[in-house]
């Protein structure tokens, strides 16, 4: 898709996963910093999703509905995972955020593969 934004979201979700894992390795519960990091990443993903929806209706994709579902998933997973993570005030909370970030990363990669516009 939009290469710069896609690259930014990939780097951001990867960095967020690393952040969560580092917190866990240091045996720290997820705190304010991680929440801010999640907010920044979700903002990037939301921007990508809005642009993606707008662009998707201007072209023909081989799997339009799958593309739109992945867009929705890419935005929704991290907020839900974060909510779930903060109910666990131990190191495992950070791992939950990392799992959510990795799943989001996979979804963004899949979006790249599904973006094969024609017409």
């Amino acid at each position: 898709m939009y290469d710069a934004l896609a690259l930014a979201t990939l780097v951001a979700t990867g960095a967020l996963a690393l952040f969560g894992l580092v917190l866990a390795a240091l045996n720290r519960a997820p705190g304010r910093e991680l929440k801010i990091a999640v907010g920044v990443v979700v903002a990037l993903l939301a921007a990508q999703a809005v642009l993606g929806v707008v662009r998707a209706f201007g072209v023909t994709l081989p799997e339009q509905s799958t593309f739109l579902i992945y867009l929705a998933v890419s935005v929704c997973v991290l907020p839900i995972a974060t909510q779930f993570a903060y109910a666990e005030p131990t190191r495992w909370g950070g791992v939950v955020v990392a799992v959510g970030a990795i799943a989001t990363l996979v979804a963004v990669l899949r979006l790249q593969g599904l973006w094969v516009p024609s017409g």
Partner: protein
């Protein structure tokens, strides 16, 4: 009294990570099956029905692992056990007779399309259920 020694919950500590992974698989397998069945069911009905079955199993496993009631643990054992059986049977069938499965499911080739997580996940799940099992009264 049973209340004096409550069994360890399956959804806290490291278990919360497991529930999160199961939740993500429940979501992705179900969504995938829904798109496949709604869009092109005739292409590979067996594969798409298997996708749907896998989605249901992941949902039941998530509910079982996340729950705290006694039946939740039973449900989790059943769902995770079925999941392991499913990935082994479907994985073996796809290796032996790939032509019978024109389109991939979560469990095809032992979950190759998902980084083999579908093969490892039930093993971890069973180990976790065993580890957190209630101690005999």
């Amino acid at each position: 009294m049973a209340e004096a020694r409550t069994p360890r919950a399956t959804a806290t500590g490291a278990g919360r990570v497991l529930v999160a992974i199961y939740g993500i698989f429940a979501l992705s397998a179900t969504a995938r099956a829904a798109v496949q069945i709604a869009g092109r069911f005739g292409d590979a009905p067996l594969a798409y029905l298997l996708s749907a079955l896998a989605g249901v199993v992941y949902i039941l496993a998530t509910v079982g692992l996340a729950g705290t009631r006694p039946w939740a643990r039973t449900l989790a054992w059943a769902a995770v056990g079925f999941e392991l059986t499913g990935v082994l049977v479907v994985g073996t069938l796809t290796v032996l007779d790939a032509a019978a499965f024109p389109d991939d499911t979560v469990w095809s080739f032992y979950g190759r399309g998902y980084g083999f997580v579908p093969l490892v996940l039930p093993l971890v799940g069973l180990w976790w259920l065993h580890r957190t099992r209630p101690s005999p009264a």
